[in-house]
Amino acid sequence: MMLEVRSLHAYYGQNEALHGIEFALPEGGMVALLGANGAGKTTTLRAVCGMVRTTGEIRFDGTSIAGRTTEEIVRLGIAHVPEGRGTFVRMSVEENLQLGAMSRRDRAAIVRDVDWIYERFPRLRERRRQQAGLLSGGEQQMLAVGRALMLRPRLMLLDEPSFGLAPLVVEELFAILAGLNRETGVGMLIVEQNAELALELAERAYLLETGRIVFAGPASEIREDEAVRRAYLGY
């Protein structure tokens, strides 16, 4: 298993936001975390990255990463694309991509990777000198994904990648994500409000409700189980 989480609790101050969840992501797998607002999806991603206080076990490639600092975890090859994208809005597109590779030393490869990202996202190349904050929502999301890829991650944590995007842009973005997963074998843990779309993309899904996992199984099973869909996903 690439990522293994056992009896994970997470806390915001005195409030417990996750009550002992378990899930796993196989090597190069694509897993969706679904659920309503406030279910704990974002918290789960933040817990993996060491951005909230946790107890329990988190293993990445077999080594425990619970309790490590965010920058250490990132340097192990886990790239988090946060909700709201977290780009550096006053820096240029190119600077944002360079920042994504900040933990790497191989300068020549960084230059090649920037080029590779521009091939995947041609609109970013057109806007390479522009401030990230001036990009459209879709372009900013592409930039956030591109910046995460600059880390050459083994695992990507994607928080609501479809948020605020037009349906066509969402389809384009998800096609790119599926392609990346296929070609580079990067694992993806995706948090989504858009359950229908996420279930098409992912192999496996976990349903979260108020900090607990209430259903887990292959994506196809959830797609076909009308009762689960109605109760938890609202479609």
């Binding site: 990132v74 550096f88 820096m91 900040m102 600059m150």
Partner: protein, 292 residues
């Protein structure tokens, strides 16, 4: 006309030091969102170190470089020892930390080097530059050294990976961590650089105001004013603000009757208050939206 040019140039020379002080304040402010009241005392301490080195027979430029390096290390040490443990503390605790640093350095100066006023050498001489009365050698040196330092800093922040990482850490610490930047060390580096910049400013102003433990008090007020005038969120703005305060101070003292050398600080501060009434974030500053 001759007098006007002369006063502008003199203002720029002092303004260079205010600009360096303002820049040092902004660098720490960007890193930890607080004003470093002890910036002036850090610079004074550094200047005493340089004075001591020169007393021991080290040549001026060797002492200069050594002092900058020691100050850089000292700034990092201050962050690691004093402010790192306080970085999540309530603002009043932090304030006490700054006051403590201020008084430790201030009385430390007096304890080690006593309170008698000392002269500080200049490598540029005080003869009029090129035989004209516009600028003397030391004033030209102040402007020149400041210009070189600002150029180097500009290159560092715009042209190097480390500079980019520091900017990112200041702009958005959470996102910076998510790309693997060690934000805590960037903060320490900011303190080190602020201390080094302060040391340069202190060594340049010391030949004019003379060296004693309270040397930087006035300069710090002008530096703060420059930083606020230009905008605490803008390093370039702070530099501009520092130079502007120097020129305003110099012109007001010469051309406004009754102001003279006693009230020019008041005039400079009045101008700043006027600017802030129109632009509360400073000329080049911007409103920072803070997440709740």
């Amino acid at each position: 006309m001759q007098l006007l040019i002369q006063e502008v140039l003199a203002g720029l020379a002092n303004g260079a030091i205010y600009a360096l002080t303002a820049l040092a304040i902004v660098m720490v402010f960007q890193a930890i969102d607080h004003l470093n009241f002890a910036q002036g005392e850090m610079a004074t301490f550094s200047t005493f170190v340089a004075w001591q080195l020169i007393e021991w027979g080290v040549t001026y430029w060797a002492a200069f470089v050594l002092t900058v390096a020691l100050s850089f290390a000292g700034g990092i040490a201050i962050e690691r020892v004093l402010f790192r443990p306080l970085h999540k503390a309530p603002i009043l605790a932090l304030l006490v930390g700054f006051i403590a640093l201020f008084s430790i350095l201030n009385s430390g100066d007096g304890y080690i080097w006593n309170y008698t006023i000392k002269t500080f050498p200049t490598p540029f001489g005080t003869a009029p530059l090129f035989g004209s009365a516009l600028l003397d050698g030391h004033q030209a040196g102040m402007i020149g050294v400041t210009a070189v330092l600002l150029g180097l800093l500009y290159f560092f922040f715009r042209g190097t990976r480390l500079g980019l990482a520091m900017r990112a850490a200041a702009a958005n610490p959470e996102s910076a961590r998510l790309v693997g930047i060690r934000v805590g060390w960037m903060t320490a580096l900011g303190w080190g650089m602020a201390a080094a910049i302060g040391a340069v400013g202190g060594m340049l102003i010391a030949p004019i105001v003379f060296l004693d433990p309270n040397m930087m008090l006035g300069v710090l007020i002008y530096g703060f004013s420059g930083a606020v005038l230009g905008g605490l969120t803008s390093p370039g703005g702070a530099v501009f603000g520092g130079f502007a305060v120097g020129v305003i101070e110099s012109l007001a003292g010469t051309f406004i009757p009754y102001v003279g050398r006693d009230l020019n600080l008041t005039i400079a501060l009045l101008v700043i208050v006027a600017v802030l009434m129109v632009r509360p974030t400073g000329i080049f500053g911007r409103t920072v939206a803070s997440r709740v």
